[in-house]
């Protein structure tokens, strides 16, 4: 995923070390006059990745900034019982085709993972890059029940939802969604109100913001008086966001700064919002680690419930399922309460080739990112 150094874009020098150095200096000029360390939460897993890959984390610590990973990994926060319901269908029926994103297939549950389970003859699992591939499968295989199992935030939700529009237009009777749709602003509210962690400010996710715009974060600044900045994914982008947040802390005037204007319009992507509004309705959702949060999820509106896998297959999500007995501390990692290295399994039993929790599975998972970029190979 990392692009070559000779990238010919009109903003190519955002990758340079000099720009990062200048920004770090500017941040230090602000933090010098503040009680440090300041705890800032980067909500998005892709930000976590940039911070580790670019080596910025320790350098930020030197200038008084402690970056804490948040819940920004949809695979990580989806409870096991979603996977277990899909596994039951694959094993129990002979006409199922489950399409999903790659990292969803490796999440370990009490019933194994989607990848390890042996489907009944006639059923199978397919990894897709785009949810549109799932609709194409439904079109080409009318004898199969095709389920798209997708976990996602606001960035991914509109595209997945678009497939329902398409399936309805094509009058497909064999296509449905198992939605694990999560909304970021209510999760931020829950983290702040939970009060377990004193956070001084937020770096808001760039591509979630490309969809929802600036306004949904206003509550963080207005109600909780916490600063925040929307940031892009280059190292300099994140530093620019951090600089804005520390300036807000110094001035005592929290706001929703947009430091990723080249991609994030103040109003977001109106077309995407319209698709979500038309097909989906807010619902309470149960986040791994954070627990149930009111209005923090989306599900298909009753008019479209024929495309809802929960209804079509009478799935009982969550009921009667008890979580795996494991020492995995993903829940605390997702809340920012502990670093992955604080988990006793990190780098020992839990490694990318033997993940004990979803945070070691997903590319956006804090444990996998920490493992990949901290130079830790093994503690053995």
């Amino acid at each position: 995923m990392s692009p070559p150094a000779t990238i010919h874009l009109p903003f190519s020098n955002w990758r340079t070390k000099e720009t990062a150095d200048r920004l770090l200096k500017a941040i230090e000029a602000e933090t010098r006059n503040l009680p440090t360390p300041l705890k800032l939460m980067e909500v998005c897993g892709t930000h976590t990745m940039t911070l580790h890959r670019s080596g910025l984390k320790p350098r930020l610590r030197q200038v008084g900034i402690d970056m804490i990973s948040g819940p920004g990994c949809p695979v990580c926060i989806t409870p096991d019982y979603y996977h277990e319901a899909i596994i039951d269908l694959l094993v129990g029926r002979g006409d199922i085709l489950v399409c999903t994103f790659g990292d969803m297939t490796r999440v370990p549950t009490r019933k194994g993972s989607l990848q390890t389970v042996v489907p009944a003859p006639g059923s199978r699992l397919k990894i897709v890059y785009s949810p549109e591939e799932a609709v194409a499968e439904a079109h080409n295989q009318p004898e199969k029940q095709v389920i798209f199992f997708g976990a996602g935030f606001e960035t991914t939700i509109p595209g997945i939802t678009f497939t329902v529009k398409k399936a309805a237009e094509e009058k497909l009777k064999n296509y449905c969604l198992l939605t694990a749709f999560w909304l970021i602003p209510p999760a931020l509210k829950a983290i702040i109100e939970g009060g377990e962690l004193a956070i001084n400010g937020f770096i808001y996710p760039g591509h979630v913001s490309a969809i929802i715009g600036e306004k949904p974060y206003a509550l963080v600044a207005e109600t909780y008086h916490l600063p925040g900045a929307i940031a892009g994914f280059e190292p300099a982008d994140i530093l620019l966001g951090i600089l804005s947040v520390v300036k807000q802390i110094r001035s005592g005037q929290p706001l929703v700064a947009n430091e990723y204007r080249r991609v994030v319009k103040p109003e977001g992507n109106v077309e995407a919002q319209a698709i979500m509004e038309r097909y989906l309705i807010k619902t309470a959702a149960d986040w791994r680690g954070l627990g149930p949060i009111p209005d923090s999820g989306l599900k298909l509106r009753p008019e479209y419930s024929s495309f809802d896998a929960v209804r079509r297959f009478s799935l009982k999500l969550g009921s009667g399922s008890s979580a795996r007995k494991t020492a995995c501390r993903c829940g605390e990692v997702l809340k920012g309460l502990i670093a992955p290295t604080d988990c006793p399994l990190f780098g020992r039993q839990c490694r990318p080739d033997s993940p004990q929790g979803p945070c070691m599975v997903s590319y956006e998972g804090a444990c996998l990112i920490e493992y990949k970029f901290s130079g830790v190979k093994s503690y053995d």
């Binding site: 874009l9 903003f11 200048r22 920004l23 998005c44 785009s130 960035t155 490309a210 080249r262 995407a272």
Partner: protein
């Protein structure tokens, strides 16, 4: 899953899809969420769907800000 870098739109089909170029490698993207897209635009693509068009004026503005920071230090 979150492809952080923009790609360039090099062709558009009638059905709302098109090709996006990433420094030589191309992917098919759906443009239904960006209805007024044109060939030559830079876009952010996420899980097969283009979600945002890059505003080059804003990109240049941030670049200028970095140059000013340089002068200060």
């Amino acid at each position: 899953m979150c492809l952080a870098i923009p790609g360039k739109v090099i062709s558009l089909n009638d059905n709302g899809t098109g090709q996006v170029d990433y420094l030589g490698s191309q992917v098919l993207a759906n443009f239904s969420l960006l209805p007024d897209i044109k060939v030559g635009d830079w876009v952010i693509v996420h899980a097969g769907f283009a979600i945002s068009r890059l505003d080059q004026k804003e990109a240049r503005r941030t670049l200028k800000l970095f140059q000013e920071l340089e002068k200060q230090s």
